[in-house]
Amino acid sequence: MRAPSNRLPTRRNTELLYIVAAAFVVACAEAIVEITRNSSVSSHVATYPLAALTIGAAAHVAVRRTARYADPLLIPCAVLLVGLGLVMIHRLDLGLAQQAAENGQTYSGVAAASQVVWAFLGLGVFLTVLFVVRDHRVLARYAYTLALIGLFLLLLPAVLPARFSEVNGARIWIRVAGFSIQPGEIAKLCLTIFAAAYLVAKRDVLSLAGRRVLGIDLPRGRDFGPLLVAWLVSIGVLVRNHDLGTSLMFFGLFVVLLYVATERVSWVIIGVLLFAGGCFVSYHLFANVKQRVDVWLHVFDYLQNEGYQMSQSLFGLGTGGLFGAGLGGGRPELVPVAKSDFILSSFGEELGLFGLVAILAIYVVFISRGFATALAVRDSFGKLLVTGIAFSFGLQLFVVAGGISRLLPETGLTTPFLSYGGSSLVANFALLALLIRVSDAGRRPPTTPPSAVTTDSGPVPIAQGRAEATS
């Protein structure tokens, strides 16, 4: 599209092109899986790319109508990741069905089909957020409400009886009436908004007051309050929920937002020390934390029990090597619950290091567009909000990739957009909608305030009249 010279290009056509390209990549992936495994293609070759394309197209139309200037790469990245996730989940379904058949059992899992349903629910949430939240700054008003909801969701699995909250040893679930949701993902959304709003309000106090010791600006004692609360919550999650990933993610998110808001390195140093100290103490105090670390350090001693999943993941990555076994050519289904926590190791096995790095590169593009949005937007809340969202994607990815490659103890975090799991997918779509909303505000031609009425003679800022009345 050639934009008229008096308008900024909206780049919506670029977005559409890349959404179609993403669906094409998904179609190729599914075709390769089926040809490799069955030497024929089934109707799934059309289903998954079409699902990805439909989601992309619907999001695209909504963005054209409500956020014309938003970044063109965010949605294609998400569509490609969701699509590739669908293909891999379906491929694991096929593998598990074959494994069950060899053992004389039948496997009736249809994870891929339910993931398609969740993806469409995610699309619904995306559209709702995009249409309801017309200006991201109104979110700052609900900061404390959202913080309460977030903390409640985060701590709920810890206080519920284990039979409602424990899956595979990690208590990060709420299981009600056959449904299991992972509230941590939704808590992430709420707490990011809260942290951004809180820090915009309190930034000056946090960055100006304090003493300078050894070249580092130390904050005042009473300003430690929020950091200590975040620290206590994250250590509580670590000890009670047996989950380092969630704990690391929340604390990391808070510390980074503090750093970005105040430009003080001291917060990062204090945060890292606090977290390391907390981990050290809980390692010595709590047997379950100690045992998890033990399994992590000596995984092959626990080959047949606690370390089985981790060691299978490592064998998978090793089998994949540089170029992978080819889609459909490996045995990624040997890793227990590969489709949610260990989906990256499935990709590592079938696409190899080159393919895995390509997938990480797609995430890098997504995250870097988030940071670019933070630079472009012209209000502090928006800046901190998208910094938080983009950073939490990055940190989550780091924790997951570290988990499958044994850099970190294994965690129960999902890979954004890629993993099987409804709550994660839905929450990530909501975050995507917020990114799109802020990105639109940041790239919109500057003198059109969101509240302005656009007429044929050009945008009329409402502010003008009011400002003149007060001046």
Partner: protein
């Protein structure tokens, strides 16, 4: 019937190439965007500015012509607002062009507007005042490129 191993090997590498082509395509889009934002915001500028030029001149506005308001100090540092001929409102109000979150800024603090090719800065009755260089603004002040405008802890200039 089984697919030949050769075909499977071909597909295996073709898919990796396809995936990387997608990444490469996205990087190209980012590069185009960087070019577009390195030049002053495209709005209201003549087409010819987008034609081929060496990168060094592309980053500079045309001589004698102000094209953007750049925040050089404070929490919004790095933010740019294009000068499109329409007035720019600065303040804590949510619908300001540049939204300051600064205890020393007023809700509607200042306005930068153009009259016959000259950009003027006006203080809109703020509590703590607006400074150009070292002097407090009292009535409309014509602005020049590179002169520091200070509101609270935020410093900005026209380029």
């Amino acid at each position: 019937m089984t697919t030949s191993p050769l075909a499977i090997q071909l597909m295996r590498f073709a898919f990796l190439i396809l995936l990387w082509l997608f990444v490469y395509g996205m990087v190209r889009v980012i590069r185009t965007e960087l070019r577009a934002s390195g030049a002053p915001r495209v709005a209201a500028l003549p087409r010819s500015r987008r034609s081929k030029r060496s990168p060094s001149t592309e980053n500079r506005p045309a001589r004698g012509r102000l094209s953007q308001l750049v925040v050089v100090e404070g929490s919004l540092a790095g933010t740019r607002v294009a000068l499109t001929g329409k007035p720019i409102f600065i303040g804590r109000a949510n619908d300001s062009t540049l939204v300051l979150t600064d205890d020393y800024a007023s809700t509607r603090h200042a306005r930068i507007s153009e009259t016959s090719g000259v950009w003027y800065l006006e203080d809109l009755g703020s509590t703590n005042g607006t400074y150009v260089g070292q002097s407090k603004v009292d009535g409309p002040v014509p602005l020049e490129a590179g002169v520091a405008i200070r509101i609270g802890k935020t410093v900005m200039e026209l380029r």
